[in-house]
């Protein structure tokens, strides 16, 4: 059934589609000449590491650290709270599940840009401006709905007999949750974790409002938005692309690590095309 050439062509097409803008990104980040930066020709112009040096000089390593802390903490908290909530919805007796799910979802639907002024006021009074917590708290709140939905779906699909077996062996609900369900839900948890991490990593609106300038807390997207060219009006596409490459490489490594976990539940070749 498998036609190797077709498969290979398909694979190549997919890789090309996903990567060609990235090729442009790397190419542009190496260009240092004004004309070259704005030329459609990939090979035009002198190249050099200037953009990367400029980016690092502006304290980008601090931004990377900040983003990592914020995104990592958000993910840990969100998965922790979300998996508990999802398990309750999927497995335990709870009144008003539909209402709960809908309410949780509805709250996260409001256009974030309209929430910024009132949230800013609250944050100011709570002294949460220019802090890690000031970003982590709303990020967790806004990613909980998706996490709960994904994990509920996942938990619900696991066979009930597993817990029953555990309870027969004397485990409480909590123990059944930790020792049986969570390990088996690893692919769902890993997927949700990646989604939350990337959301927190890329979030711009709240970060630029709550932690706009202080290098102690400024995250990557906000920093990139304050990059400038060397002259007035100049679009800093060289430094932006360099920053993007610096940011994406660890993310790719992270993804390479996680992707094994996403499909960890599957054994080799179980879903045959």
């Amino acid at each position: 059934m498998a036609k190797p050439i077709l498969k290979f062509a398909g694979l190549f097409a997919i890789v090309a589609w996903c990567l060609f803008p990235f090729v442009w990104l790397i190419d542009t980040s190496l260009k240092i000449n004004d004309l070259a930066l704005n030329s459609p020709n990939l090979f035009e112009g002198p190249i050099g590491p200037n953009n990367y040096l400029s980016v690092i000089q502006q304290g980008f390593t601090y931004n990377l650290r900040n983003s990592f802390v914020v995104a990592g903490t958000t993910t840990a908290l969100c998965i922790g709270m979300g998996s508990l909530g999802a398990y309750a919805v999927a497995r335990l007796r709870l009144r008003g599940k539909a209402f709960l799910l809908s309410g949780v979802l509805a709250l996260s639907l409001f256009p974030p840009v309209a929430l910024v002024p009132p949230l800013y006021e609250v944050w100011r009074h709570a002294d949460l401006l220019n802090t890690y917590q000031g970003m982590i708290v709303p990020y967790v709140a806004f990613t909980l709905p998706l996490t709960i939905f994904i994990l509920t779906n996942f938990f619900a699909a696991l066979p009930v007999e597993l817990e029953e077996q555990a309870r027969v062996d004397g485990a409480s609900h909590l123990q059944a949750f930790y020792r049986i369900i969570v390990p088996l839900a690893a692919p769902g948890v890993a997927s949700a974790a990646i989604l939350v991490f990337v959301y927190a990593w890329n979030e711009f609106l709240l970060a630029s409002t709550f932690a706009p300038r202080d290098l102690d807390v400024q995250t990557v997207p906000v920093a990139i938005a304050s990059f400038t060219g060397s002259v007035q009006y100049q679009r800093p596409i060289g430094t932006i692309t360099a920053a993007c490459v610096i940011v994406t490489l660890p993310m790719i490594l992270l993804v390479l690590l996680f992707q094994r976990w996403i499909v960890a539940g599957l054994t080799a070749g179980s879903v045959k095309g």
Binding site: L94, L109, A114, L115, P138, L144, T248
Partner: protein, 308 residues
């Protein structure tokens, strides 16, 4: 699914049914409490506050008085609002459909085991991990007539094709950029759903002589239904609120001004908290309406707690 009944029926269960039911319900509430608390604190107050703002008339930043629904009637009678609705729904319908199809293809591929599967999965996820602010700028640079990267790279496109300055093509450019960026997100969600399909279902179908397409149609798709609905739900509500991409690429020109852009305009540019909040509530209502449709399909599947 009645846990108590099952407990009573099984051989184990050292606890009496009365204690079991109580502890289960309490535990359930305990598990759910942190999430509910978090959301109530962070999301509920601003939403209610923003909603209340919409009932007042403003002149710029100054509150002038209570006005009830005047801001809403003003917003709903503005042609700009309806154009934003059209733009938003056009964008959402096109990009979500494309993302579902492409995402499903990606997911099926990622689920396979073959040499180089790891790097392939990483490559597929690359578009989505690039920060949105950068991706929007990147696609702007690629589509814009200056420097004209796409114009020069694609064979049939004229050198001075003005993607971002013509009606219709602006929307197409936005959709391409969004699909490129977000199809991996769909793929991830769908992949998680593919994981729960037991391999023996495929095995027995294959033994019975079913072709790959039939296996896909009769095994994969039905089991994947709740996952597809979840993926569609989240992707749709995100697409309905899209802001970064059109703002950077086209600034809302030539029919690409979305609802969120309209809201932002009154929050940041021509500041008027009354109109901004009214528009935000209207946007919220629109998005909520769409999501209710999805959830009603979904809850039947989720809450029953068992596979089809």
């Amino acid at each position: 699914m009645d846990f108590a009944k099952r407990a009573r029926d099984s051989d184990g269960g050292r606890e009496g049914e009365h204690r079991w039911t109580l502890s289960e319900a309490a535990l359930a509430r305990l598990f759910v409490a942190p999430s509910v608390l978090m959301l109530a604190l962070v999301a509920l107050f601003p939403v209610l506050y923003a909603g209340s703002l919409s009932l007042y008339l403003y002149d710029g930043r100054e509150r002038e008085g209570f006005t009830g629904i005047a801001n809403y009637t003003h917003a709903l009678s503005d042609e700009r609002f309806w154009q934003a609705i059209l733009a938003t729904f056009t964008f959402t319908g096109s990009s979500v459909t494309l993302e579902l199809l492409i995402g499903l293809g990606f997911a099926l591929l990622m689920a396979q085991a073959f040499r180089g599967q790891g790097p392939t999965r990483a490559v597929i996820l690359v578009p989505w991990v690039i920060p949105t602010v950068v991706a929007a700028q990147m696609w702007y640079f690629m589509f814009n007539i200056q420097p004209g990267f796409i114009n020069h790279s694609l064979p049939l496109v004229p050198r001075d094709f003005n993607w971002l300055g013509q009606k219709g093509w602006t929307m197409s450019a936005l959709i391409v950029a969004d699909v490129w960026k977000t199809a991996p997100f769909m793929a991830l969600l769908l992949l998680a759903g593919l994981q729960v399909i037991p391999p023996e279902l495929y095995e027995s179908a294959r033994v019975d002589g079913a072709s790959a397409w039939r296996r896909f149609l009769h095994i994969t798709l039905p089991i994947l239904r709740p996952t597809i609905l979840v993926a569609l739900l989240f992707r749709t509500v995100d697409a309905l609120r899209v802001y970064d991409l059109p703002k950077v690429m086209t600034n809302g020109t030539f029919g690409t001004e979305t609802l969120s852009m309209l809201v932002e305009r009154y929050v940041v540019q021509t500041v008027n908290p009354g109109i901004a909040s009214a528009l935000a509530v209207l946007t919220f209502a629109t998005v909520l309406g769409v999501s209710i449709i999805f959830v009603s399909f979904l809850s039947r599947n989720l809450l029953l707690g068992s596979r089809a």
